[in-house]
Amino acid sequence: MSKDIYVIAEQRDGKLAKVGKELIGEATKLAADLGEKVVGVVLGSGITEEAKNLYKYGADEVVVVDDPALAIYMTEPYAKALTAVIKECDPNVVLFGATSIGRDLAPRVAGRVHTGLTADCTGLSIIEDEEVGKLLAMTRPAFGGNIMATILCKHHRPQMATVRPGVMAALKKDDSKTGEVKAIKVEFTDADKNVEILEEVKATKKIVDITEAKVLVSGGRGIGGPEGFDMLRECAAELGGEISSSRACVDAGWIESSRQVGQTGKTVRPDLYIACGISGAIQHVAGMESSELVIAINKNDTAAIFGVSDLGIVGDCKVIIPKLTEALKKYNAEKESN
């Protein structure tokens, strides 16, 4: 019988990605409800030692396919490796991060093993079904974030889902935990390498991961132009935060797309989110509504963003933000001199 929750913990350049740790944290809760175990799976080359770290984040078992054919991400060798893991271990649930790797690999594997796959989930829970017993209920935004849908996969195993990075919480790292790594051997042939990677170019500019920021000062169309972000950057610096953006500014070319918050961008949940000149379209709100404290500044007193804000300011952010930056500078200077 299919059992246990398998988390495909993504690695890049031999380092485990944060999303895998988040998924293991979430999986420990689901596993408790199911009375099953959490198994971390790492695919790569020379990753066995790094894979052991998954024990520290809550995995009960760790499985690897460690092979030079998996040194760099390629769809077919990874799909073959994971299919072999699924065939051998017969998991009940398989979870992936909804990254550009997870969303490439998961559908290919789901197709191959003929099971269901739910994309980009933001909520997972276990429900009791009259007909088939305990099931994974996979909740995700649909229709551009306008509605939420809960999806079931009743008759096929494993139940598979990709989960948005930044939505689930990782457990606190427990350095005392460790364990053995189970290696699964897969034979790779030249035919598996059905594409050729001519070049791999890593981003030279240090990419700021806005999902990691504790404070985000975010700009929308109301900041007036690309120079508006300079103003926000200065304010964010005083708060020890980063800048982010609505889709409108990315589409207008004012800022890079990696800073976009929302349905088609990133989901963030900082301690403080300051929305400047952002109207609050539902697609944007979908990406920031879990923020602890939301402050919105908008000229339009009926802007939808005020509906999800703890504090709303009706006014021009081009006037208010520079004044706020000054006030913060003064406050920080006083704090330092004390």
Partner: protein, 261 residues
């Protein structure tokens, strides 16, 4: 090169609003459009054709109204259009949808299949890779750029923190990011021609030998929707309409109160 583009007709989700009283979607008057990533795929296909010669066939699965989306693709310059439409196809999840589209594609001769990365109504990004799996051909997803290299293609494949230049032999499937190509406008003569052309319709009877009928439609879908709901809106807090200096003071007070500073 024989190029096939798969498109989806979607509601323009940016135009969808919630009824504040009932908290339900207002669908009336929401226009149907060609999914943006798919439209970039059409443009990329037309550019490939301009470089290599050949044909561009556009394929869409959907209800009879999706004819409009196919006509738009013809007006942009695609050569042929096929609509995969049948009541039996309704309720398909991504697995079943990929099964049907792959069955339709098996009736064609192709070198390259281009799909959009994802549709704005479902946002799953699953159907492209699942079609490739069913057809047993390589896929390159998240394509930002495509160049022709003899019988192969060189694709710039985007990741969050890097890109790969990938050489892939044909036949293959590529999923297009909207950055891949800026769609051209329809021309007046193109629109006239588009309505003179035939859109071939393939239904269950035409495709039944190309798929297992147990794998399509609502019943053939491994996943099903258990429930759908609108999100609980986060309650609105205080909204102040005061002078800039008072506003800044209010923000500072809040930041101190919440221990942010």
């Amino acid at each position: 090169m024989k190029i096939v583009v798969c498109i989806k007709q979607v509601p323009d989700t940016t135009e969808v609003k919630l009824d504040p009283k009932t908290n339900t979607l207002i669908r009336d008057g929401v226009p149907s459009i060609i999914n943006p990533d798919d439209k970039a795929g059409i443009e990329a296909a037309l550019q490939l054709k301009e470089q290599t010669g050949g044909t561009v066939t556009v394929v869409c699965m959907g209800p009879p109204q999706a004819d409009v989306a196919l006509r738009e693709a013809l007006a942009m310059g695609c050569d042929d259009a096929i609509l995969l439409s049948d009541r039996a196809f309704g309720g398909s999840d991504t697995f079943a949808t990929a099964t049907i589209i792959a069955a339709g594609l098996k009736t064609l001769d192709f070198d390259v299949i281009i799909t959009g990365r994802q549709a704005i109504d479902g946002d799953t990004a699953q159907v492209g890779p699942q079609i490739a799996e069913q057809l047993h051909i390589p896929q390159v997803s998240y394509a930002e750029d495509i160049k022709v290299d003899g019988k192969a293609l060189i694709v710039k494949r985007q990741f969050e923190d890097r890109y790969h230049m990938i050489k892939v032999q044909t036949p293959c499937l590529i999923t297009a990011l909207s950055e891949l190509a800026k769609p051209r406008y329809m021309t007046v003569s193109g629109i006239v021609d588009a309505y003179e052309k035939e859109v071939k319709v393939l239904g269950f009877e035409d495709l039944k030998n190309n798929f297992d009928p147990a794998n399509i439609g609502l019943k053939g879908s491994p996943t099903n929707v258990y429930k759908s709901f609108t999100k609980q809106a986060k309650g609105a807090g205080t909204v102040l309409n005061v002078t800039a200096d008072e506003a800044v003071q209010a923000i500072m007070d809040k930041l101190v109160e919440k221990h942010i500073i």
